[in-house]
Amino acid sequence: MTTGLRIAFLPLTDAAVLVAARERGFAEAEGIALDLVRTTSWATLRDRLVYGQVQAAHMLAPLAVAVTLGLSQQPAALAAPYKLNVNGNMLVMTCDFAAALEPDVAARLADPLGTAHDFAAAIGLWRRKPVIGVVHRFSSHAIMLRYWLASAGVDPDRDVVLRVLPPSLTVEAMRAGEIDGFIAGEPWGSAAVEAGLAEAVAIGERIWRRGVEKVLAFREAWAEENPDTVDCLLRALVRAAAWCDDPANHADLAGLLAAPAYVDQPADLIARALSGQIVARAGEAPIASPDFMLFAREATPFPWRSQALWIYSQLVRWGMVDHDPATVAKAGAVFRPDIFRRALADSDVPMPGASMKLEGAVGKPLAVGSRRGELTLGPDRFFDGRVFDPERIDEFLAGFTPPR
């Protein structure tokens, strides 16, 4: 028997696992007829999910937390039992602005701390407060940008203007001079570089080596009423994710994503993020960033509760939500490792033994406790060396100056 399932997505390279699940038969093999609904704004993706037009969505992890906490229009309890990817963002700035930064782009990207300080100095030289596009207030991109800027003493609410616009409008807005740069998921940064409008200034993978990005979000009630469908889908997605991670499939995957029904951008631009070959300045040789975007390896899909809580800590830090124990519990409960474990109990996917971990504590690949198979976690350091202990959020928050 086949079950129909509608999933909303935005035209982004990191919708890859959903597209592969549909186009390469992984969903069908689990008895799921996947209908992918292309959406051009996060607001509409959220509404389609919250009001039940779709059963699941390719969602910014912080937005899933925010909707559950009632911070983004109609509150709704969401459940994220699966991470669609880790990493994949890039900050690009107009070439004039980037001229004030380290000219060697490989060195610039490799040293986010130095670049943050150069960026802080460049703000004063710029003709106005730099206007930086972010895809949503509750996006990993905005949170990462704030984290990075603040490390160099830049107040993201005072010293720059953050302008919200969806990824597909970023390149046009740069062309029109409405923004001086933006941080977005691929292929939009690469598209701006390729058009000669911008240069890469920072890549997500260097700010947080394993940064939480998109999740698969359900309405919690729906997920609980339909456990079999959820489990089938998750099994299909882990297979699709392994397929997406395999370099042998990158050209095929880039071709699939390039279709008008999905990302609708040239396949060679899309391939850059998949293969980790990032062109930081138009016409230059690509810079190898093998961890630019992860789908399967290192148990990428596993929804660590500690990552939901890291997101929460950043929402508190920037005054978007008040810190209290009830809210901590609610935010942490958005990520559902219990569902992931149930769905993949009989599979060969390496399963972490714990549901929380220290975030930012792994410097070198580390073998960890796993219920099955071998599991090695990749380095997950933050560029500033901080470690997030989900049991000690207060201390973590107090460590930021000025505490906010």
Binding site: T40, S41, S72, Q73, H136, V164, L165, P166
Partner: protein
Amino acid sequence: MRIVIIDDSGLRATVLEEGLREAGYDDIHIVPPRGAFVARLERMAPDVVLMDLGSPSRDTLEEMLIVSRALAKPIAMFVDQSDDAMIGAAIDAGVSAYVVDGLRKERVKPVLELAVRRFNAFAKMQSELDEARTALSDRKIIDRAKSILMNQRSLSEQDAYALLRSAAMNQGKKIVEVAQALITASDLLGGGV
């Protein structure tokens, strides 16, 4: 009640505006979501904002609703969360509506219902237009295939059409598909008309 329509499609906005005026609303403004549209909207201090659900500019609008100091009252999507049927109809029709806090739902509901009806009518009109366009181009393809047959096999127009139709029936295809195949084959063989 001041109503602002944010819309890329000038035609849909006009269709909606006309409907609202006929229903007696007269404080209506249309703002295309380009450039500094958010600042314009802020100055207008609307009571209701109607926007296409498919517009990529919704995230920009929602951000403004959160951070604006100029708007005296908060604006949220859909006034009455208990009215599931209404919300469902609005989302199906592709309408998103933002309403100032404190506006009574009896006052907003007719506006929303009207927007849903007009959006649906517009979508129907557009799909009919698309169908008409497709029909027109199908017609042209079939005509070209007919003239190839008429020239190469000295058939009358009626017989050429009958031949296309029977080939389509035999192969379980549409006439236009058979016609297209014939044109392609004829082009490849250098026998184009």
